[in-house]
């Protein structure tokens, strides 16, 4: 690398990280503004909950700790939810890190690869063992959360947040995007989460279904599977690279 240019860049970067004034402050503001607004766009419900001003303070702290590593900011903030858990003030909003996780699942689902999902009929044939097993759709994202964060997230999807008093218990979040402009965002229970988790970690559909049925004998796992299939949660193995 050209040594003088590299030295200049490092000096300039150090100036941006310092107490910038005058013209350097313009560059510093732009650098922070770009990262903060990317974070705001990627965590819209956290932004709604905190309010624009508070979000900006939080985001500046985060950007200082975890600056962007790639120029594609559409997925910036992978560490944001975990970082929130370590902030002292978040004790007043114990659901906030999980809401950030839901925001993240949503963005990841929106930007993942497109694939034609297995039809419900195809999925049911696979479930009954009369055709090959299935894989998860590349745009599916899900998580099990220790707080009712998905209920809170869903309440913030309208133009005006709904007033909710969610039951304080764990729940699952699912995002399924069977086509570019269609996204489903339901809460899921532990049996659905068990089926999906098993498949994510490489279990066959049959094994995942058997485990879910054993763990949750009072749930209708076939009906749950059918619901997931209707959301476009699966692909046939031969469509994985289509």
């Amino acid at each position: 690398m050209p040594p003088e240019l590299l030295q200049f860049q490092r000096s300039f970067a150090a100036a941006l990280d310092g107490t910038a004034q005058g013209a350097i402050a313009v560059y510093r503001n732009t650098v922070f503004h770009g990262a903060v607004e990317a974070l705001r766009a990627n965590f819209p419900v956290v932004d709604q909950i905190l309010g624009a001003e508070m979000f900006e303070h939080v985001a500046v702290d985060f950007v200082s700790t975890c600056p962007p590593r790639v120029p594609v900011l559409a997925l910036y903030g992978a560490e944001f939810a975990d970082w929130l858990t370590h902030q002292e003030w978040v004790g007043d909003l114990p659901y906030l890190p999980d809401v950030a996780r839901v925001d993240r699942l949503h963005v990841e689902s929106l930007l993942s690869a497109d694939r034609e999902p297995a039809s419900p009929e195809e999925a049911m044939r696979a479930c009954s063992g009369t055709s090959r097993s299935l894989l998860l759709h590349p745009a599916i994202r899900f998580s099990w959360l220790s707080t009712p964060a998905m209920s809170i997230w869903l309440a913030h999807q309208g133009p005006v947040p709904s007033r909710i008093a969610p039951e304080w218990k764990p729940e699952g979040a699912l995002f399924a995007r069977p086509s570019p402009f269609v996204i489903h965002a339901p809460r899921i229970g532990p049996a659905a989460h068990r089926i999906l988790s098993g498949m994510r970690f490489g279990e066959t559909l049959g094994t995942s279904m058997a485990s879910a049925t054993r763990l949750y004998p009072h749930e209708d796992c076939v009906a749950i599977f059918a619901s997931l299939a209707n959301l476009g949660a699966f692909i046939a193995p031969d469509s994985e690279r289509s």
Partner: protein
């Protein structure tokens, strides 16, 4: 055919962009916003591209930095170019990547022989990978760096000569830099070789909070002095594809199209309409 004026595409304008009857209208997008695996962003751009020409404007290649272009980033740009077959591909005379960190800005460099050589090599690498010419945009200036060996216009001209790239002249950047550093924007534009210019950008600017520096904020209508500079520039070099940029306080599609119509009238030589 007279080169046309375009506008920066905003997803909120999607349906109006698709159905606009404006002849020759084209759209520019920031390439990095579309370097994703799938989903609505790419689907919208596919649909737009099926009806209109587009331009890919990169902001993250860090061509004026000491490092070579990131291979993964270059590969992502190549995929976009292959998918969308844009009319123009452009980047900046700036750096934004250093030691594993990315700065969401277009940072300046001293115009030295060393930077000229590095930048030439980086542009050549991008052009070789894409198999086509790219355009390089002149940066905004807020800071009078020491140690320049070249004037900016000579540097850009030489960069274009050595690398074979074209130039994207942002007239607002010239006006902002002229205000902040105290040079004559008209003379700056006169020194640019017209044959190298493949595109022109027009945008708005604002004053900083201290009221001293102009900021290339892209959040205001294009200023009258920028329109005058543009008119003289186009009169000298001839019509070029011209982009109306707006990234903050984004107005209605119709308002952007009014600015676009003014640029289009100037490109067409219809001074009565452009007034």
């Amino acid at each position: 055919m007279i080169p046309a004026a375009g506008i920066g595409f905003k997803p909120r304008h999607y349906h109006e962009a698709l159905t606009s009857p404006a002849a020759g209208l084209w759209f520019e997008v920031h390439a990095e916003n579309y370097m994703v695996a799938g989903g609505p962003r790419l689907a919208m751009l596919d649909e737009l591209r099926s009806r209109r020409q587009i331009s890919l404007h990169g902001v993250g290649m860090s061509l004026a930095g000491a490092a070579e272009p990131d291979p993964g980033h270059l590969e992502a740009l190549k995929r976009l170019v292959s998918r969308f077959e844009p009319a123009m591909v452009s980047e900046h005379l700036a750096w934004s990547r250093l030691d594993g960190r990315c700065f969401p800005d277009l940072l300046p460099v001293p115009r030295t022989n060393e930077v000229l050589a590095r930048c030439t090599a980086n542009i050549a690498r991008v052009q070789d990978a894409l198999g086509r010419q790219i355009l390089i945009e002149n940066p905004t200036h807020y800071l009078a760096l020491r140690d320049h060996s070249w004037s900016e216009t000579s540097f850009l001209s030489e960069l274009a000569r050595r690398s074979g790239c074209g130039l994207l002249i942002d007239v607002n950047n010239v006006a902002v830099g002229a205000h902040n550093l105290g040079f004559d924007p008209g003379k700056w534009l006169e020194a640019i070789p017209g044959t190298r210019v493949g595109e022109v950008h027009l945008a708005g600017h604002s004053l900083d909070t201290e009221g001293t520096l102009l900021i290339d904020s892209h959040d205001e209508p294009i200023a009258e002095d920028v329109w005058k500079l543009y008119e003289a520039f186009i009169a000298r070099i001839g019509p070029r594809p011209t982009l109306i940029e707006r990234d903050g306080n984004v107005p209605s599609f119709q308002e952007l199209m009014r600015e676009r119509s003014r640029a289009q009238a100037l490109l067409s030589g219809d001074l009565a309409l452009a007034a």
